[in-house]
């Protein structure tokens, strides 16, 4: 969005809004009763035993919580934009940690398993995703060109392919490829099947992205190239594709990020990737939450790295054109 040069008053700095907000927050904390949580314990010098503090305790707890909450908002509202964003991120992250902590996690259990999670699980997840991304990109380029060509076979095959693979749930594709290929006489291991399913599915989505990217280049570019005597392959390679990259990158980045997490679906084939290990390592000791949360943090971390790479690529192309 484009920022106006005229600054409006911040809503938080209007008394009416502030009072309304405070009342709403107070009502929220009161309704959801936080007396029997850690906050109640903190306030036990005031309210006595939280269990027996009754409505009075409930009110004190929610009042204190809402004052802290509103003061926090007010304090943040005076900071500069970048600082604001950092603080809010940090606080939300703390809340997330508190949520995780509430499961009474056994950290030593995580510590003893995380080595395997990373050396085997993370490695396999990255390996499967990276190979699938490369194959899917290749499929998408070929598919997009086929869809835009006026060759009947190419168009028919490409559109049948995108229709089919966008039309089935990925999990179903994983099963179909793993169980179906042996029927046709091809014995395939779990990992190649998983990679095939991911590549084909994401190749289909990305075909559409690439097609739209190529089509968005004005037809004058084709005409100028043709008028210079360029052949169509050369036009695509040197003129059209380079210009469509900045258009293709953001949605493709999204696909990469989605694929990284959808790679967890191949765990149904017994591949030792992150999700599979997260499910199985915790099972024997009934420590599900430890492993699931560990996997969650690893997936999230990977996604953040991908987002940063995507932002960097976008910036690079914005400078150039």
């Amino acid at each position: 969005m484009f920022v106006d040069t005229v600054v409006e008053d911040k809503a938080l700095h209007k008394p009416a809004f502030l009072i309304g907000l405070s009342v709403a927050v107070l009502a929220f904390f009161f309704a959801f009763n936080f007396t029997n949580t850690i906050f109640g314990e903190f306030l036990s010098p005031v309210i006595g035993n939280p269990e027996e503090s009754g409505l009075f305790g409930r009110f004190v707890v929610s009042f204190v919580l809402s004052v802290i909450f509103v003061l926090n908002l007010l304090a943040i509202s005076f900071a500069r934009l970048k600082i604001q964003i950092l603080i809010v991120w940090f606080e939300l992250f703390l809340l997330f940690l508190a949520f995780a902590y509430s499961f009474d996690l056994k950290l030593s259990f995580i510590q003893s398993r995380i080595g395997l999670m990373i050396s085997k699980g993370l490695f396999t997840t990255i390996y499967i995703s990276a190979v699938s991304i490369v194959i899917a990109t290749a499929i998408a380029i070929v598919g997009a060109i086929a869809k835009l060509s006026n060759n009947g076979f190419a168009y028919a095959i490409a559109s049948f392919y995108t229709s089919l693979f966008r039309g089935l749930p990925l999990l179903l594709q994983v099963y179909l490829i793993y169980k179906g290929l042996p029927q046709l006489g091809f014995m395939v291991d779990a990992i190649p099947s998983g990679i095939a399913a991911l590549s084909l599915c994401y190749g289909a989505y990305m075909t559409e992205i690439f097609r739209a990217g190529i089509q968005s280049i004005p037809k004058g570019q084709w005409e100028a190239s043709r008028a210079l005597g360029f052949k169509s392959g050369l036009i695509l390679r040197k003129i059209i594709l380079p210009q469509s990259i900045p258009i293709i990158v953001p949605p493709t980045g999204n696909q990469f990020i989605a694929m990284l997490k959808d790679s967890s679906l191949v765990s149904v084939l017994g591949i030792w990737e992150l999700m599979y290990l997260a499910k199985t390592l915790g099972q024997r000791d009934f420590r599900h939450m430890e492993m699931l949360l560990t996997a969650a943090m690893i997936y999230w971390g990977l996604t953040i790295i991908l987002e940063m790479i995507q932002a960097r690529i976008e910036r690079k192309y914005q400078q150039k054109t």
Binding site: P218, G220, Q221, E223, A224, S225, R226, A227, L228, G229, F230, K231, L234, K238, I239, P242, Q243, K320, T321
Partner: protein
Amino acid sequence: MMSSEITNQNPVISLKGVNKWYGDFQALKDINLEINAKEKIVICGPSGSGKSTLIRCLNRLEAHQDGQIHVTGIELHETMKDIDIVRQDIGMVFQGFNLFPHLTVLENCMAGPNWVRGIDESEAKERAMSLLKQVKIPEQADKYPEQLSGGQQQRVAIARSLCMQPKVMLFDEPTSALDPEMVSEVLDTMVELAKSGMTMICVTHEMGFAKQVADRIIFMDEGEIVEENTPEEFFNNPQNVRTKTFLDQILS
């Protein structure tokens, strides 16, 4: 018609009985035209009269359905194999410039010679620089097109075409997308090109330019060539009523 084939000077471009339709709509009607080397032709006429369609048929950006078009002795038709060879010899300048935005000015000019004529990079660069000098913007060589004014962009587009050392140059309203103060810099470039002996076919409504350089002016209306004459005759003694009305409108 037949006599021109006997003369020793073969026309660079010849059209015989050319018809073109867009669906049911006939955009070109029985066009007959011969253009010799070094001739400068100006095509004018009201909007929608088929001027763009006509010159876009000359390098087969558009297909004609009937009649024959010969360019540099080669007939243009649907199943031809060597259209790229013909196109390399015909430069085209568009109303909307159509420069390649991801390439610098210099790279725009080097692309053709380097990629399709197979000229090595250093020579292509030398040629590009000399043509950028000719259109008077060598100092912009390393900029990207969007950093240039409209007039400068159009001059780059002219240089880009000239880098291919074409035998014919086609111009489709090269100045109509420009702000008034930039029109003359582009027209000056075209006048100089005309002096250098280039064969030129220009769709334009710049009548000053037409008077100065045209050997023949062609007036089109509703897909037909209505009148074809020297500039003196065309402006001073128009034959057709439609030409007169058009001239009244455009010169008033």
